[in-house]
Every structure is written in structure tokens, then in C-alpha cells.
């Protein structure tokens, strides 16, 4: 089996006395869709920000795409895509202008940018909206566009922080089609979510409680382990023990 694309060993982040992420150790394999679950305030976003090189860990080890999270954040950034819970495209630019900008700063050539833009608009069925301002698009479309832009440079790993929050079920389904598509192309998908039906779509799922990872396995095995029928119930059993209040 190949090397893990994300590898963490006792990865910890403290803010003063508060331990946001407590000795996280896990591996993610190439092409895997890795679900990262947990109640609000459990530490998911903190962990993800450390892996993206946005936040320096307090202690522990981690590599992403083979690069160290302390010293090689610039190399990590070349090899990952990121989509945060805050919508991060420029609302005052049009759809194509956003695509061109992000493709450009990832170093794609003019030719590649043209081809990618066309293919992407085609895939999203947004050819007619190409010249519309992003602020005029419905939320679901924005999220799909945002994802496509985050993977435009074919990164090794793409981090998605609650990508489908507030999106209708149909669009969510379409969004997951995009995720599967990316995974088929060999990209590793690291995704946080609050929707348990989405957790079922993942290859493996980890559940964070109070900054620790309390469970990590495939959805089937987790259901077996807790002898329940749905991920919902798995989540309840674990999250009920949480001491931290949600933010």
C-alpha cells in the first residue's frame, strides 16, 4: 500500500489553557474520502487549519502530501485545495473572473486556464452564468463553484470545511457527485460535516469529541462497533459525553 497522504502523530493545539486539538493521530490514504465529524466547538476547524498551514501546531508531528506542517507550509499550500465554511470567492467578480484569478495564482498557463474554465463551466452547467457576478448566484451554485475552484490546480488533497452548510438536499447530492469525481481522479478529500447522511458517503470517518478523536473507522464498522443502525446514533452516543459547550 502507498504512503499516507496525511499523517499526524499527537498533533496538538493549545490556546492558553484551552486544548483545542488534543494529541490527534491518524493517517489518510491517497484517494480516500475522509470524513471529519464532531459537534460545534469539538476542534475540527482547528485541526484542519493546522493541516493547511494556516495555524502552527503547539506540539506533535504532521505531514501533508509529504511535507512538514511546521517548516514546509509553502510546499503544502502548492499541493492542497481548501474550501472554508465562510464563502471565499469574490462576490464582486464574475464567475469566469474568479476561476481565472484562482487558476492564475496557482500558476496555470493561459491555455490551461482557458481550457479548465470551459470544462468547469460545462461540468457545472453554468456556461450561461459565466459572466454573472458571483453575488447573483444561488448559494448551492456558489458552493459547487467554490469547490471546483478549490481543485482547479489538481491538488493532492482538498480540505472542505462544512462545504454543504445551508444547501438543499438535491444540491448536496450534486455536490457529493463532484467530490466522488475528484476522488476518482486520485485526489484525497478531507471533509468536515454535520450531516450524518454525508458521513455515510465517506470511506472512513473520524469523530472528534472535546478536542480528541474518539472513533475512527469506516461507517459500516462504526455502526457495528456501537451496534446501531445509523451514523446518527453513533454520533449521538459519542457526542453525548462531550463536556464542552458548543460555540
Amino acid at each position: 500500500m502507498s504512503e499516507p497522504v496525511i499523517k499526524t502523530e499527537k498533533l496538538t493545539k493549545r490556546f492558553g489553557d484551552f486544548i483545542a486539538a488534543d494529541a490527534l493521530s491518524f493517517d489518510v490514504m491517497p484517494g480516500e474520502i475522509f470524513g471529519f465529524l464532531g459537534a460545534n466547538g469539538a476542534g475540527k476547524t482547528t485541526a484542519m487549519r493546522m493541516l493547511c498551514g494556516l495555524s502552527k501546531p503547539t506540539s506533535g508531528e504532521a505531514t501533508v502530501a509529504g511535507y512538514d506542517v511546521y517548516r514546509e507550509t509553502d510546499l503544502i499550500k502548492k499541493n492542497i485545495g481548501y474550501m472554508s465554511q465562510k464563502f471565499s470567492l469574490y462576490e464582486d467578480l464574475t464567475v469566469v473572473e474568479n476561476i481565472r484569478f484562482y487558476a492564475g495564482i496557482y500558476g496555470l498557463t493561459d491555455k490551461a486556464i482557458r481550457e479548465k474554465s470551459e470544462a468547469l463551466l460545462d461540468q457545472l452547467g453554468m456556461t450561461h452564468e459565466a459572466k454573472k457576478l458571483v453575488s447573483e448566484l444561488p448559494l448551492g451554485w456558489k458552493q459547487k463553484l467554490s469547490f471546483s475552484v478549490a481543485v482547479i490546480h489538481q491538488p493532492k488533497v482538498v480540505f472542505l470545511d462544512e462545504p454543504t452548510g445551508g444547501v438543499d438536499p438535491v444540491t448536496r447530492r450534486q455536490f457529493w457527485d463532484l467530490i466522488y469525481d475528484a476522488s476518482d481522479k486520485g485526489m484525497t478529500v478531507f471533509v468536515t460535516t454535520h450531516y450524518m447522511d454525508e458521513a455515510e458517503y465517506c470511506n472512513r470517518v473520524s469523530i472528534m469529541v472535546d478536542g480528541r478523536i474518539d472513533a475512527l473507522d469506516s461507517p459500516q464498522n462504526l455502526k457495528k462497533q456501537f451496534s446501531v443502525h445509523s451514523m446518527d446514533e453513533v454520533f449521538y452516543q459519542l457526542a453525548r459525553g462531550a463536556k464542552r459547550t458548543a460555540d
Binding site: G53, S55, K56, D74, F87, F101, I105
Partner: protein
């Protein structure tokens, strides 16, 4: 380089798409340049003068006529008693009282001397001082006129008189606007540069796009250059429009080399944008950036020599003005525009402003972090 191209393209698209912003960048400062110089005027005019004439003689009439024909004074009431004149001062309808005592003409002719009384409302010290000064000058003039009438001058004047001839260099008509317009233009360029730059970056923090930028391989200096260059260009454009207005509306054409002005402006804008950048690194919301900018801009404006001469500030305040980039550019503008100063005259200021530019931008770059 390619990264920078995409960053600049994005910034300019956003700036040109935001019509409100464009208006406040281009039109607002020009309106201010059209309006402000008329208001920021220290020439004291229209002083309300209450004359209490207790003499009602030909001389007292003559004196009053001479005072009001000078153009600086306007009468506040007529045929007043001293008590009434005092009331006018209390109700702010008069600025100065001139009391002509009874027997003014008679004593002047018989005894060759007479005293007048001036009382000024000194709440506005400048107005009181300058007004009394004008009044004193007019009365002295009146005095020499009547001396000429009454006294046959002897062959040698027994009382030596020093006569003064003044010549006003660089601004011969002493037009206040010629003095203010270049300074106000500097103030506007400074405000636009620092505030727009700070607000623009903080806006990206607020809406979260900066986080997206931070996970891309964009380097710190790319991002910062991508923000500096557009506002540097805008500063240049605003300054040019300002010069055109100064020429069309106020007839001010720089005596010195325009190229020299632009060279100084180029460096100065870097310093000003550095301030904006620095403010943005210390603020997380546009509101914070706004209040910080206001704080600095108020101090910069009031301690720049724009409205009040730096030389008359107390020592500690003069020290502060040395750390104010605005004060350097205002003095350079006035020197080059009004006096036609050359490179050697402004080289010191240029050096100081360059140091500001390097220090402020260096500080901002150090303080801007992609990783927390």
C-alpha cells in the same frame, strides 16, 4: 510576476466595478479641493465694529468713514452708547468697540493729542489681535493725514520717522488660497491613500477571502504589492486631477519642476500606503480600521503645518511633526509650487520620507502573517 499580474487584474476589476468607491476616490477629493480653500482662509475680514461716537464732530465722522472704507470692517449698529456696544459684544453681534471720547476734535486740534479706546472680544484671539492691529494701522494713517493738514512741516523733521517698505515674495498678492491649495491637495492624497488601502485589506479579512488567499502559494510580498500598486496609481491620478483643478480654478501653476513633485509623490505615496497597510494588520474589522485611520489622520492634518505654522508650536509638538510624513510633503509642495525650489532644496525631506516608506512597509510586512 505572473501571480502579481493576476492579483493586479483582480484589484482593478474590483475597484472599477465599485462605482460608489470610485466616486469617493475621485470626485469627493476634487469637490473638497474646490470648496475647502475658500473656507480655510486666515485673512480676517468682515469684522463687526461698534463705534461709540461721543464727539459727533467732523473728525470723528471722517475717522469712521476711513475705517469702514478699508474693507475689513462692517458697522455693528449706529449711534450707540458704550453700554449698548457692550451688549452687542455680549450677544456676539460685534467683535470690537472703538470709543471716541467727547472733545476728540477739539483736543486734537488744541492740544495736539487725544486718546481712543479699543475693546476687542478675544474669544477668537486671532480675530481680535488682527482686527485691533488693522484698526490701529488705520488710526495711525488718519493721524498722519491730519498732521499734514495742520502742521507746516519744518525743513528738518524734528521727530525721525522710520518708514517701512514691504515686498511680498513668492506670493505677491498674499493670496491665501495660493498657500492653502497645495497643502490641501497633499492632505487629500494622504487620506485617500492610507484609508482606502487599509479598508480594502480589512474588507478581505471580514468577508474571509483573505483566508482563501492564505492557503494559496501566494507570497506575502506578492499580496502586499498587489494591494499597494493599485492605490499608488490611484494616488497619482488624484494628485494629477488636483493639479489640474489648482490650475483651472486657482490659476496655480507650479513654478518648480513638475517631475520633481511627482518623484517626491512617488516615494511619499509608498510611505502613506505603508501606514494603511500597517493599520490593516492591526485591525480585524473595517470599523476598527476606520477609527484607527481617523485617529492618525486627525493628528497628521493638525500637526502638519497645513493650518498653523509648525514654528509656533511648542517644542514637543514640533518633535511630533518631524515624525509626520504629511508635514514634509506639505512643505515640499509649497516650496516647489510657490518658490520653484530644486532637488537640492528638498533632498533632505525626500530622504526622510524614503526612510518612512521603508520602515512603515517593513513593519507592516513583518506584522502580516499568513500563519497564526
Amino acid at each position: 510576476m505572473r501571480t502579481l499580474k493576476f492579483l493586479l487584474q483582480k484589484e482593478f476589476l474590483q475597484i472599477f466595478r465599485n462605482k460608489t468607491l470610485l466616486r469617493s476616490i475621485l470626485i469627493a477629493p476634487l469637490m473638497q479641493l474646490i470648496i475647502l480653500p475658500w473656507a480655510a482662509n486666515y485673512e480676517v475680514k468682515n469684522i463687526s465694529l461698534a463705534i461709540v461716537d461721543n464727539d459727533h464732530s467732523g473728525y470723528s465722522q471722517k475717522l469712521a468713514t476711513k475705517i469702514f472704507s478699508s474693507g475689513y470692517f462692517k458697522p455693528a449698529g449706529a449711534g450707540l452708547s458704550y453700554r449698548e456696544a457692550e451688549k452687542l459684544i455680549e450677544s456676539d453681534q460685534a467683535d470690537i468697540i472703538l470709543e471716541i471720547p467727547p472733545g476728540f476734535e477739539r483736543n486734537l486740534v488744541r492740544e495736539g493729542q487725544q486718546k481712543l479706546f479699543i475693546a476687542a472680544n478675544a474669544i477668537n484671539g486671532t480675530k481680535a489681535l488682527v482686527g485691533s492691529g488693522y484698526l490701529g494701522g488705520i488710526i495711525t494713517g488718519f493721524n498722519s493725514e491730519i498732521r499734514l493738514q495742520w502742521i507746516t512741516p519744518p525743513r528738518f523733521n524734528p521727530a525721525p520717522v522710520i518708514e517701512i517698505t514691504a515686498s511680498n515674495w513668492y506670493n505677491p498678492l498674499m493670496n491665501y488660497k495660493v498657500f492653502m491649495v497645495p497643502g490641501i491637495l497633499v492632505m487629500l492624497v494622504t487620506m485617500i491613500g492610507s484609508m482606502m488601502c487599509a479598508l480594502n485589506i480589512v474588507k478581505e479579512k471580514e468577508i474571509g477571502t483573505i483566508e482563501q488567499i492564505n492557503v494559496t502559494p501566494i507570497r506575502k510580498y506578492h499580496f502586499i504589492l498587489g494591494k499597494l500598486i493599485p492605490f499608488w496609481v490611484i494616488g497619482m491620478v488624484v494628485f494629477t486631477l488636483g493639479l489640474v483643478i489648482a490650475w483651472l480654478l486657482y490659476g496655480i501653476v507650479p513654478l518648480g519642476n513638475i517631475g520633481l513633485l511627482y518623484a517626491f509623490l512617488a516615494v511619499y505615496l509608498l510611505a502613506v500606503l505603508g501606514i494603511g497597510l500597517l493599520i490593516s494588520t492591526y485591525s480585524t474589522t473595517q470599523q476598527q480600521a476606520m477609527s484607527l485611520s481617523f485617529f492618525f489622520i486627525m493628528i497628521f492634518n493638525l500637526m502638519s503645518g497645513l493650518f498653523t505654522p509648525i514654528e509656533s508650536m511648542p517644542g514637543w509638538a514640533q518633535v511630533i511633526t518631524q515624525f509626520n510624513p504629511l508635514s514634509y510633503f506639505i512643505s515640499v509642495m509649497r516650496m516647489v509650487v510657490l518658490k520653484g525650489s530644486e532637488f537640492s532644496d528638498i533632498s533632505h525631506s525626500l530622504l526622510v520620507v524614503s526612510v518612512f516608506a521603508v520602515v512603515l512597509n517593513g513593519w507592516a510586512i513583518l506584522n502580516y502573517r499568513k500563519t497564526s
